[in-house]
């Protein structure tokens, strides 16, 4: 990622423009301007429109955040007609023409969520209040996503969630101004179950280790629900403290519990550590009840899986997207990302890129950036060509429904990126659920006036 890369520099300069202009504008003037067009919050005044990219730049998910930021910059480039256009060329909607959105150049500001709700909200508020951002996107954990989504609802801007896997984001805590492209634990459960059945049969005893917070519980619940439907028995579900580091004291009881499957409802560093250590304890090579012992990691992240190294081999899990997919959209995205940065994009990068494109497309189709109009353009939107096959943005809960990938740690990887192989693409209709299932209420749109 060299600073000499000319195209990147150009984007950066445009990206910075918004920040600097607002920096120099006394707030009374900008408030005055705002007052003149009391249309909606942060209605763009000049010839550019500012988006806010709120990603973790410090803390455990900093690498994931950095990858998200790369994807955002790429998306902005493509929207402004630079680079090779990426998935704009394969996107089923042809509203965008590569000359910005609604005739305005796309600029952006960035912020650091630190993977903390408080910091993320503060950062988003800065982008809304100070930098005039009219859409916030990003994030690498569900707590943060829900917190920022709530904020955007109050402030009256659109929130396009980044990597957030908890059901609550578009369930209990859904908001009219918030949209999610990423999948959730419910879909993971539905997608994994048939694969697990094929691989391990219906007579299995599962032992859960679950990160002791909302996402972990939600994941554990979904897997239990679907695996028990298969006929699996849940031997025990043990909660582990977030950031436990050493999981040995939770792993040793597994050995003598009579279980023959270990399900690690962990993400990030917890997943890396618990998986590495589980393999060290010989769980992957054991025989129990006359069967090979199996480990399952419901939510995989390739970036994080790199940290577990060899330990991921043969371990099943689910993922939103993977760079090895061979559809046109994925290929176009991998190509333009890979040529710019020298390595393939992660699923976090993919979902963030898609969200930016989807937002821009909706605004273009709506002909305005007004949140309620953009939202309506997204609601019930059917599209294709963004790497996941045909997708629906469901109106009832602002959740995308698409095929879910079931992946497995690759036995003989070709390169450091080649860690996972797609074993099954669970079709969309198998992972769909009624919107009432997860509760919550969207409420009305808020345009911020």
């Amino acid at each position: 990622m060299s600073f000499r890369n000319p195209s990147r520099r150009k984007v950066l300069k445009i990206g910075a423009a918004a920040g600097v202009t607002t920096l120099a504008t006394p707030y009374f003037f900008s408030r005055g301007a705002f007052a003149q067009s009391m249309d909606y919050r942060n209605a763009p005044q000049g010839d550019s429109v500012t988006l806010g990219f709120n990603v973790p730049q410090t803390g455990a998910y900093a690498d994931e955040g950095a990858d998200e930021l790369r994807a955002y910059q790429l998306a902005v480039e493509h929207l402004n007609g630079e680079g090779d256009g990426g998935m704009l060329n394969t996107f089923s909607s042809k509203a965008l023409e590569g000359n910005g959105v609604n005739g305005k150049k796309v600029a952006f500001v960035t912020g650091d969520t630190q993977t903390k709700s408080d910091a993320a909200r503060a950062s988003a508020k800065r982008m809304i209040e100070n930098d005039g951002a009219l859409m916030i996107t990003g994030g690498s954990s569900s707590g943060v996503a829900i917190a920022v989504q709530g904020l955007c609802q109050e402030a009256g801007v659109i929130f396009m969630a980044g990597l957030t896997h908890s059901n609550d984001t578009t369930g209990k805590d859904k908001r009219a101004n918030g949209f999610r492209h990423f999948f959730n634990t419910e879909m993971t459960g539905a997608a994994l179950a048939p694969v697990l059945k094929n691989a391990y049969g219906t007579d299995r005893k599962a032992y859960h280790l679950t990160a002791d917070y909302t996402w972990g519980w939600s994941q554990e619940g979904s897997i239990k629900k679907y695996s028990e439907e298969l006929g699996w028995e849940t031997v025990d579900a043990v909660r582990t403290p977030l950031g436990a580091g050493d999981f040995s004291q939770y792993l040793t009881p597994v050995l003598n519990s009579g279980a023959d499957v270990l399900i690690l409802n962990h993400y990030g560093k917890d997943m890396v550590n618990s998986l590495t250590q589980a393999v060290q304890f010989g769980l992957r090579d054991k025989q129990v009840n006359g069967k090979d012992f199996a480990i399952v990691v419901p939510l995989y992240s390739r970036l994080m899986a790199q940290g577990a190294g060899e330990a991921v081999k043969g371990i099943f899990g689910s993922t939103n997207w993977h760079w090895s997919l061979q559809d046109e959209g994925s290929k176009a995205f991998v190509k333009s990302f890979g040529e710019k940065y020298g390595f393939p994009p992660s699923q976090a990068a993919h979902t963030c890129y898609c969200q930016t494109l989807l937002y821009a497309d909706a605004a273009q189709r709506a002909g305005t950036f007004r949140p309620s109009e953009v939202g309506k353009a997204l609601e019930g939107f059917d599209f294709d060509g963004l790497g996941n096959g045909p997708v629906l943005y469901r109106a009832a809960d602002h959740q995308c429904f698409k095929d879910v990938l079931v992946v497995k740690g690759k036995e003989n990887p070709d390169s450091q990126f080649d860690l996972l192989e797609v074993v099954e693409v669970t079709p969309r209709d198998q992972v769909e659920y009624p919107p009432e299932l997860l509760g919550g209420e969207l409420g009305p749109y808020n345009d911020g006036v």
């Binding site: 707030y27 503060a122 002791d212 977030l242 409420g443």
Partner: protein, 394 residues
């Protein structure tokens, strides 16, 4: 009591009020004049002032003050959920709950001093954080954080997911969607929220000034100076320490309450030890034991967290756009270590430099500057400067 303020105290108070109230204008050139950051300046200023009452005056280093901040936030949120969206009950409840919590923790922790005290407070705060994140989720809503919700339809909905707000319902205050915290109808977001926080900051500063100038404050300073001597002077230091601990806990509770008032969500990470560390850093950065220092330190750290972290390479390039290309690249390359994602590095370096060269924090830096400017004139003025140091500190 007010009669006991010296002229310089009055000047200090007036200057403080003027500076705080004009922040929306004076902060413009550095891009910090927007409501959220201004609110944070005021809120963390209150937190740091309160922390300084314990640490700056008595010298007891608590590593667990974030626990009171967190408890205050949760208390305010529950007041919103159960009673009313009016902020006054929330404020009162937060301060009271934080005070009680601080009393319990202080009563136990203050049996020890020095590092042992620091670790005890750290242990209590970490226990609060760990429990709030996991098993206490019914009260705290764990990772997601406690939020204000619409009035619930039936008693079957849990209180986390649906509110009751008995006072508002009784008064028949209408609600559309999720309501906003308010002070008798004035909403507490944006600039009105800032001025509300600013008013409380000024009040908090005034109280701290009173305490600092009072006999009570003098005894606290004597504890820091020589606790053993104080015991032989007939003073029972333990209740003084507990009182200081509770007062500073209540300040933290107030700050936590304001966090919830300006932004109605409360998360457990507010209680983490790093959050406790942050207020220590603010206080030391500005100057422990001084009145203005902690507020200044809070401002600097919040500014770094919000603004320095947002300066990406693009903004850097614009900042040095007038320079020739290679030089630009070099400068941008160099500074990109310290801004954007590198802002933690800046913070770390800043602390090292301050602690190594300016043990009295930024306030000592200002004093030295002042002395350097006045020192040239006469030996007398140098002496006044030293005595005014005492004045300032006392």
């Amino acid at each position: 009591m007010i009669a006991t303020f010296s002229r310089s105290d009055w000047l200090l108070l007036i200057a403080f009020i003027v500076i705080v109230l004009t922040l929306p204008w004076t902060m413009q050139p550095i891009g910090a004049a927007y409501p959220d950051l201004l609110q944070k300046f005021a809120i963390y200023g209150i937190f740091a002032i309160g922390f300084n009452i314990l640490f700056g005056l008595t010298g007891y280093l608590s590593f667990g003050h974030a626990a009171f901040l967190g408890v205050g936030s949760y208390a305010a949120l529950w007041s919103f959920k159960l009673l009313t969206m009016n902020v006054l009950p929330a404020l009162a409840l937060s301060i009271a709950v934080a005070g009680v919590f601080a009393f319990l923790i202080g009563y136990v922790s203050l049996r020890r001093s020095g590092i042992y005290f620091a670790i005890l407070t750290l242990a209590f705060a970490q226990m609060s954080y760990n429990l709030a994140y996991s098993v206490l989720t019914p009260i705290t809503n764990g990772e997601t954080g406690l939020q204000v919700r619409a009035i619930r339809d039936s008693a079957a909905t849990s209180l986390r997911d649906g509110d009751v707000r008995v006072i508002d319902q009784f008064l028949g205050i209408p609600e559309i969607g999720v309501p906003i915290s308010n002070l008798f109808g004035m909403k507490m977001s944006g600039y009105s929220g800032f001025y509300f926080c600013a008013a409380l900051l000024i009040l908090g500063f005034f109280l701290a000034l009173c305490i600092s100038r009072s006999n009570f404050g003098m005894v606290l300073k004597a504890i820091k100076s020589n606790r053993n001597r104080l015991e032989y002077t007939g003073v029972n230091t333990r209740p003084y320490l507990i009182a200081a601990f509770v007062i500073s806990g209540m300040y933290a509770g107030l700050a936590g309450s304001l966090l919830s008032i300006t932004d109605p969500i409360a998360g457990a990470e507010r209680m983490q030890w790093t959050a406790s560390g942050e207020v220590v850093l603010m206080t030391i950065l500005g100057g422990a034991g001084t009145l203005v220092g902690p507020v200044l330190g809070a401002g600097v750290i919040k500014y770094a967290e919000q603004k320095v972290s947002s300066w990406n390479e693009g903004i850097l390039h614009n900042a040095v756009a007038l320079l020739p290309e290679p030089l630009q690249d070099l400068l941008v390359w160099f500074f990109s270590f310290f801004v954007g994602e590198g802002w933690h590095l800046t913070l770390g370096l800043m602390f090292m430099i301050i602690v190594i060269f300016l043990p009295g924090g930024l306030m000592e830096g200002f004093r030295r500057l002042r002395r350097a400017f006045s020192g040239g004139r006469s030996a007398d003025s140098a002496k006044t400067a030293t005595t005014s140091t005492v004045q300032e500190k006392s």
